[in-house]
Amino acid sequence: MFMKVDRKEVEYVAMLARIELSEDEKDLYSEQLSTILDFFDRLKEVDTENVPPTSHVLDLVNAYRPDQVRPSPGVEAVLRNAPDRANRFFRVPKILD
């Protein structure tokens, strides 16, 4: 059966999203994403020539603030939820292979 989103694509997308999927999940998502995207294909019916995309409904542009220092929670508050810390740092496994 032709799958719009086959296993290989599922694996690729999962890699982009930094998610590890089980073999069963790969099959499940391949099937479900294919069904969903098949349904979404109906968007092709809509004539969108010269229609600008909407990324945002309000007419706000460049919402800036003055470059002023304001109070912030502080290091202890920020580190309190850390899964692993060392002094004032978040500790993580090595970054490079």
């Binding site: 694509e9 997308v13 968007l43 969108t48 995309p53 706000l60 939820n81 850390a82």
Partner: protein, 485 residues
């Protein structure tokens, strides 16, 4: 009337006249929660002592005559995707199961400053992704009118708590219908304000161009009081709008003479449940009796709302949920990982539920090179057309009326195997978020099985007032048909 049955408005009067104290009311509600929560699973975190402390502080304000807000001393429930300082905020996800925010979101802070009492945090679909409050690590929330059915979602816990008088009012969030649809399934009133009205600072982001916090309450007056506290410009939210916040209760006159109510023909489709349709048509008649005028309008791109919503929302979600990586907060996989990359993969796989993963996958796919134009960009273009439909329609009417959902609450487990079927239930609500318009749901009838049916009323940008006016007038005429669960 028992204390827990009170409304915000009613209670405010009694508190002001010192007939009752916030502490008494809070104790009463905490007691009720402890008796009923295991039946319905509305709350995932209940504050005991902290709530009573807040109540006592509110009582001090009443004693000194220093009360300015209608929400002072009022016990409310907060949806668990809103950051509350010192109170666990989980988004019903393993990945934030033990997360305790070091700050209040702005909407929460406003409620706190008004003197509201936080009873606890409510159940929801994980990261607000769902229409049933079944996708929660805490288990499903059960419909007050039938415990085998869903409450709707994602703000199901809040809607349930209001319906069960387990709080006096509640907050929810709405990205594709997550306040309106559960309000409809649970027979209460809920509103999504115009995009930009309520600060999103402190709301755990799902889809940044669609998310809005809003009130869920027992009636339209309460809804207006709660909405007023939540609204307001916030420099901490760059999508917050500097618009005047009116006294929304001033719109509640009961007079809808000459009000033009747009009825979109595309919303009366084949899949619409016959009992829902009948309740809505009765609703139209009620409005006409009060002098309003029903006008047929067309929203031609209605049927594209679901694909557009689910492409844009999931794309934005894939970006917003990239932050959950086990580094700074939240869950980190216990499996020993050699590299950071492994840790990311395992943390996210173990920490996110199935629906969340599905949506991240969908969104990532839609944004990926080779598919971006066909899916994401195309959806954004159709979004422009959907929005234009509403702008055009509002030339001919003042409010738009539709069913909130195509059918009443379904059975728990009935739709979980077919994600697309679940997504299609959002057909009447998602376009409103895509356009950024304000919309509310209020009860307009019950099915033969006793399940609530909701009517949706939509307004022009920043015109919550007219929507509330229409809703209030309808409520005044139909008050006697309302049933408690």
């Amino acid at each position: 009337m028992d204390l827990y049955e009170e409304t915000i408005q009613g209670l405010h009067g009694r508190l002001k006249r010192r007939e009752v104290s916030s502490e008494e009311v809070t104790r009463c509600l905490l007691d009720r929660i402890s008796k009923l929560n295991q039946e319905v699973n509305a709350y995932v975190t209940v504050e005991g002592e902290a709530a009573l402390e807040q109540a006592k502080e509110a009582d001090k304000r009443f004693a000194k005559g220093e009360v300015s807000s209608a929400l002072c001393g009022i016990p409310v429930a907060i949806k668990d995707n809103m950051n509350t300082e010192g109170i666990r905020t989980t988004c019903a996800s393993r990945i934030l199961e033990n997360f305790i925010p070091p700050f209040d979101g702005t909407a929460v802070r406003k409620l706190r400053e008004a003197g509201a009492v936080f009873l606890g945090k409510t159940n929801m679909d994980e990261f607000a992704m769902g229409s049933s409050t079944e996708h929660s690590i805490f288990g499903p929330c059960r419909n007050p009118y039938d415990r085998e059915r869903v409450t709707g979602g994602s703000s199901g816990g809040s809607a349930c708590a209001v319906a069960m008088d387990m709080c006096i009012g509640a907050t929810g969030s709405d990205t594709g219908g997550s306040i309106r649809q559960p309000a409809s399934y649970c027979g209460v009133v809920g509103m999504k304000p115009t995009y930009g009205r309520v600060s999103r600072f402190g709301l755990v982001a799902f889809a940044s161009s669609l998310d809005q916090i809003g009130p869920i309450a027992k009636d339209v007056t309460d809804l207006s009081l709660l909405l007023e506290v939540l609204c307001g410009y916030d420099p901490l939210d760059s999508t917050s709008v500097d618009a005047d916040v009116p006294d929304f209760t001033s719109f509640l006159t009961g007079d809808v003479t000459g009000l033009r109510i747009g009825i979109p023909k595309e919303y009366f489709i084949e899949g619409l449940d016959a009992e829902v349709e009948e309740a809505i048509r009765n609703g139209i008649r009620t409005f006409e009796k009060e002098g309003a005028v029903a006008v047929e309008i067309s929203l031609p791109h209605t049927s594209y709302g679901i694909p557009v919503y689910y492409l844009i929302a999931t794309a934005e979600a894939s970006s917003n949920l990239a932050r959950y990586d086990g580094v700074k907060y939240g869950f980190r996989s216990r499996a020993s990982s050699d590299t950071l990359r492994q840790m990311y993969h395992r943390t996210r796989s173990e920490g996110f539920g199935t629906e969340v993963k599905r949506r991240i996958m969908l969104g990532t796919y839609a944004l990926s090179s080779g598919y971006y134009d066909a899916y994401y960009r195309k959806a954004q273009q159709v979004r422009t057309l959907i929005r234009q439909d509403f702008v055009d329609a509002f030339e001919h009417c003042d409010v738009i009326m539709t069913p909130t959902a195509p059918s009443p609450a379904f059975r728990i487990g009935e739709k979980t195997d077919d994600p697309l079927q679940m997504y299609l239930l959002d057909i009447f609500t998602t376009s409103v978020n895509l356009a950024g318009l304000p919309g509310l749901s209020l009860p307009c009838g019950y099915t033969a099985e006793g399940l609530p049916v909701g009517m949706q009323l939509l307004g022009k940008y920043f015109d919550e007032g007219t929507v509330l006016k229409a809703a209030f007038a309808f409520e005044q005429q139909t008050r006697s048909m309302r049933r408690k669960p």
